[in-house]
């Protein structure tokens, strides 16, 4: 191991290494443990996906049979369709909500602390609770629709939860409620670190508030926007507890999502090999999101170095 900031030339002496043992341990043990478990767990899952494992992991080889079974299953196809819809709707809407909230809070308004806490508190709540509470609110027989009916407007309908085509939107609503605060916090952080000189210069040029945001402030938020998109996309792909508590994949199988299918196959149906195959497909999906991001980060960094 060489230390980049090492002042002396050449390799450190052996006694030096012994002296430095504690710091090597402090650096490497946690990192190696973490990396090792990730690599080992992923390889293990990939291996299982090629075995005929059912209740518990077993050895054996079934080739791609688990993959073809998953790909052919209706649940998985519905889950992928839903992920496409849910993922894009959720990411876009939470992005928009987070940005709007951040801009509003950035107007030096009174009670910013209180408001910020209000938008952040859903992050403190577990997905299971979020799902349960929203299932109360959105259930037409228990929640908002019932309330409005009891108040006298009996033709009012808000029954997305039991509507096959709209049920996926109830998950979007709950997910936005839960995680827009995070987007807001990131955007607010971005807005607060916009160069004050930039704003002053624009003010001198006589830019109005709308123009100011469009031309000066928002463009500087691009890197944050990308971060928010990636984080929210990974949230969308791994959404599990929330759906389980809110719709449990229903009505029927209308709100299946990949993470739900993985869990269902692995543990409910006791088809471990098939569940592992679904998990590997999910990892590939994640990679499809992450690789472009990593490439973008790489280009950014290169540009920053050369600039």
């Amino acid at each position: 191991m060489t230390i980049a900031v090492s002042t002396g030339p050449g390799r450190p002496a052996t006694s030096d290494r012994v002296r430095r043992l504690p710091e090597y341990l402090a650096i490497w043990v946690p990192l190696l443990l973490s990396a090792a478990h990730l690599i080992a767990f992923s390889l293990w899952t990939i291996w299982i996906s090629f075995t005929p494992s059912t209740l518990i992991p077993v050895t054996g080889w079934v080739g791609l049979r688990n993959y073809s079974a998953v790909a052919a299953s209706r649940n998985w196809q519905i889950a992928l369709d839903n992920l496409l819809l849910f993922g894009s709707a959720f990411v876009l809407l939470s992005l928009a909500t987070g940005l709007i909230l951040a801009i509003l809070l950035d107007q030096r308004i009174r009670g910013e602390n209180v408001l910020r806490s209000i938008f952040l508190y859903p992050l403190a709540v577990s997905f299971v609770v979020t799902g349960t509470v929203w299932s109360w609110l959105l259930n037409p027989g228990l929640g908002i629709q019932k309330l409005v009916h009891d108040l006298g407007w009996t033709s009012f309908r808000f029954d997305w939860l039991i509507d096959r085509d709209m049920a996926i939107w109830t998950i979007v609503i709950a997910a936005i409620w839960q995680s827009s605060g995070f987007a807001m916090a990131l955007f607010l952080a971005g807005l607060r670190s916009v160069d004050a000189d930039l704003i002053k210069a624009a003010q001198i040029d006589g830019a109005g508030p709308v123009r100011m945001y469009r031309r000066v402030i928002l463009p500087t938020l691009w890197p944050i926007t990308i971060t928010v998109i990636v984080i929210q996309l990974q949230f969308a792909i791994s959404t599990f507890d929330l759906v389980r508590a809110l719709t449990n994949g229903g009505p029927g199988i209308a709100t299946q999502l990949p993470a739900l299918v993985v869990y269902d196959l692995m543990f409910q149906r006791s088809l471990l090999g098939r569940g592992a195959a679904a998990a590997v497909l999910m990892l590939l999906l994640l990679l499809a999101v992450l690789l472009p991001y990593a490439a973008w980060r790489y280009v950014q960094r290169r540009r920053a170095i050369h600039a």
């Binding site: 191991m1 650096i27 443990l33 990396a35 478990h37 990730l38 899952t45 971060t227 543990f267």
Partner: protein, 285 residues
């Protein structure tokens, strides 16, 4: 435009913000109100309603009354279990992540970007996928059904997040600072202790908040890797909500949800300001 005048546009801003805030608070309000309504009262009307008689007994039942099989001690013992796992795991993962982030960002060494890349990928590895491998690890380490086992899991998994955020934060610290300290003869730990840690509170608040809420709210590992007396608070909550063999206990359930969420809500309320500040300083790089 960024000043405190009461132009119509500012009234509009306040109006919009209050409306959204009201919508954001609605679920909390519903839970708080239901926690004060009796089960019978909720069954009569809808889940949304004003308490007719304040049913404080819900809180008594939730805190120390309701039964999970033969144990009728309410949510209290489970709160303690969750605390025993969450607090050490939060501290360990935060400290180790801070050291790792510091090493990766300021003590560039061979292989640093590789190992950092792999570790941060861990954020994206679905939890359901890790359940069985962890079972095998706990078996081989003899930590099945111990709270230590859960602390270990959450510490190792948490490192992905804490390392990522700490590294992004420390990257902004000028290398010259470290170089000067090294010339003065300070070593790895001394620099960390004297220079880095005092600069860290904003990002440590972020990681502590994040880790604490995630571990506190975790259910899957919590029920799989413990036995009855060690289960976390989420298990007790599920016992109240997923019971097929009972009519819905919405009142007690809401009270239990409020009690169980109190630690994480408090952490967000107290730390919310620093959360944004910490993100401003680090996470968005």
């Amino acid at each position: 435009m960024r000043d405190r005048t009461f132009a119509p546009s500012r009234i509009l801003i306040y109006l919009i913000v209050s409306l959204i805030a009201a919508a954001w608070l609605a679920p909390l309000a519903v839970v708080v109100l239901n926690s004060l309504r009796s089960n019978e009262e909720i069954a009569q009307g809808s889940m949304i309603g004003w308490p007719q008689h304040l049913a404080w007994s819900n809180y008594a039942a939730a805190w120390s009354g309701f039964c999970v099989a033969e144990t009728c001690a309410g949510i209290r013992p489970y709160m303690l279990n969750s605390a025993l796992v969450t607090i050490p795991a939060t501290i360990f993962s935060t400290l180790l992540g801070a050291v790792a982030g510091y090493a990766v960002s300021l003590w560039r060494f061979r292989g640093d970007s590789w190992i950092y890349g792999i570790v941060t990928l861990g954020i994206f590895l679905p939890q359901q996928m890790r359940l069985l491998p962890w079972t095998i690890v706990l078996r081989d380490t003899g930590l099945m059904n111990t709270l230590t086992g859960l602390v270990l899991i959450h510490t190792i998994q948490g490192l992905s997040f804490t390392t990522l955020f700490c590294r992004n934060y420390y990257v902004a610290i000028p290398q010259e600072l470290i170089r000067a300290a090294r010339i003065d003869g300070a070593g790895f730990f001394r620099i960390f202790w004297r220079i880095i840690l005092p600069l860290s509170p904003p990002i440590l608040v972020v990681t502590v908040i994040w880790q604490f809420t995630h571990i506190w709210n975790e259910f899957l590992y919590g029920v799989t890797f413990t036995t009855g007396q060690q289960q976390p608070v989420t298990a007790a909550l599920i016992a109240l909500s997923a019971a097929v063999a009972d009519i819905p206990q919405h009142g007690v359930q809401s009270a239990a949800v409020m009690i169980a969420a109190l630690p994480t809500l408090l952490i967000y309320l107290i730390g919310g300001k620093y959360f944004v500040r910490g993100l401003t300083a680090g996470a968005v790089k």
